[in-house]
């Protein structure tokens, strides 16, 4: 049987072993989002500079075009996953106590998903309105 996670032994996958129980997936996703965010951040900065001088209608027209919209959506998607994993590491390091840590990790996921969805919804709404 092929294992998708090549950095884990079969036993560790089944037994959820390893101090943090899971981490290889996070590690891989962090590295992938980081690579994606190199060009995407450059694109984002270019778009922001383009948008600085624009009024309401010009902003809507700009973000309504496919290329800026898609780049923005990709930036948001990669960024949100990246930030969720990053904040997870911070919480695991500094937040202690059985319930507080769990709550913080949950809140982290909720915030990341909400912020990402809000941005994506806004971009799509501009494009399709």
């Amino acid at each position: 049987m092929e294992s998708k996670d090549t950095l884990r032994t079969q036993r560790s996958r089944v037994g959820r072993l390893g101090a943090s129980r899971s981490g290889t997936g996070d590690n891989a996703r962090m590295r992938m989002t980081s690579i994606a965010l190199v060009p995407l951040t450059v694109a984002f900065m270019v778009m922001v500079l383009d948008l600085v001088s624009k009024d309401y209608n010009a902003v809507r027209s700009y973000l309504g075009h496919p290329l800026p919209a898609l780049l923005m959506l990709l930036f948001i998607g990669a960024g949100v996953l990246h930030m969720q994993i990053g904040m997870k590491a911070i919480i695991e390091d500094y937040v202690h106590g059985p319930h507080l840590k769990e709550a913080a990790l949950t809140a982290n996921v909720f915030f990341a998903v909400s912020a990402g969805l809000a941005c994506a919804y806004a971009v799509l709404r501009i494009g399709f309105a």
């Binding site: 600085v52 309401y56 973000l63 960024g79 904040m87 911070i90 912020a115 809000a118 919804y121 501009i126």
Partner: protein, 132 residues
């Protein structure tokens, strides 16, 4: 982290303040701090995009805040946070591949991250001023 006693009254051995602040250490701390700041900044991005997607009034409110002194200060901070975190990420990508981890290369890399971040921030704002 500031506690010096564990429950049970036993002392905690010094673990944080015994280190002399090195540039690489500061860059590492900044990488985490800028990451956390950018995390919160997503809310600001969401606000701007949602405002643009709703109507003129919402957009003008967001725009007014961003053009105010507070908004400009926040934006300047976020620009720097993004540039610093971006270059720090490139630094980590190099180190992941074992490149320039020795002394003095890691010091140069840390310097480049710091001054590069400031330079890119200044460049971005100069361009924004020219284009706005």
């Amino acid at each position: 982290m500031a506690e010096t006693e564990r429950p049970g009254g036993r002392p905690l051995s010094p673990h944080l303040f015994i280190y002399r602040p090195m540039l690489t250490m500061i860059m590492s701390i900044l990488h985490r701090a800028t990451g956390a700041a950018l995390y919160l900044g997503t809310g600001l991005l969401a606000w701007f995009l949602l405002a643009a997607s709703i109507d003129v009034t919402a957009f003008e409110t967001a725009s007014w805040f961003l053009r105010s002194i507070y908004g400009q200060a926040v934006l300047l901070g976020f620009t720097w946070a993004l540039m610093q975190h971006f270059l720090g990420g490139l630094r980590h990508a190099l180190w992941d591949r074992g490149v320039w981890m020795d002394h003095p290369q890691r010091e140069w890399l840390a310097q480049a991250t710091l001054w590069g971040g400031l330079a890119l921030t200044a460049l971005a704002w100069a361009l924004a001023w020219l284009m706005g």
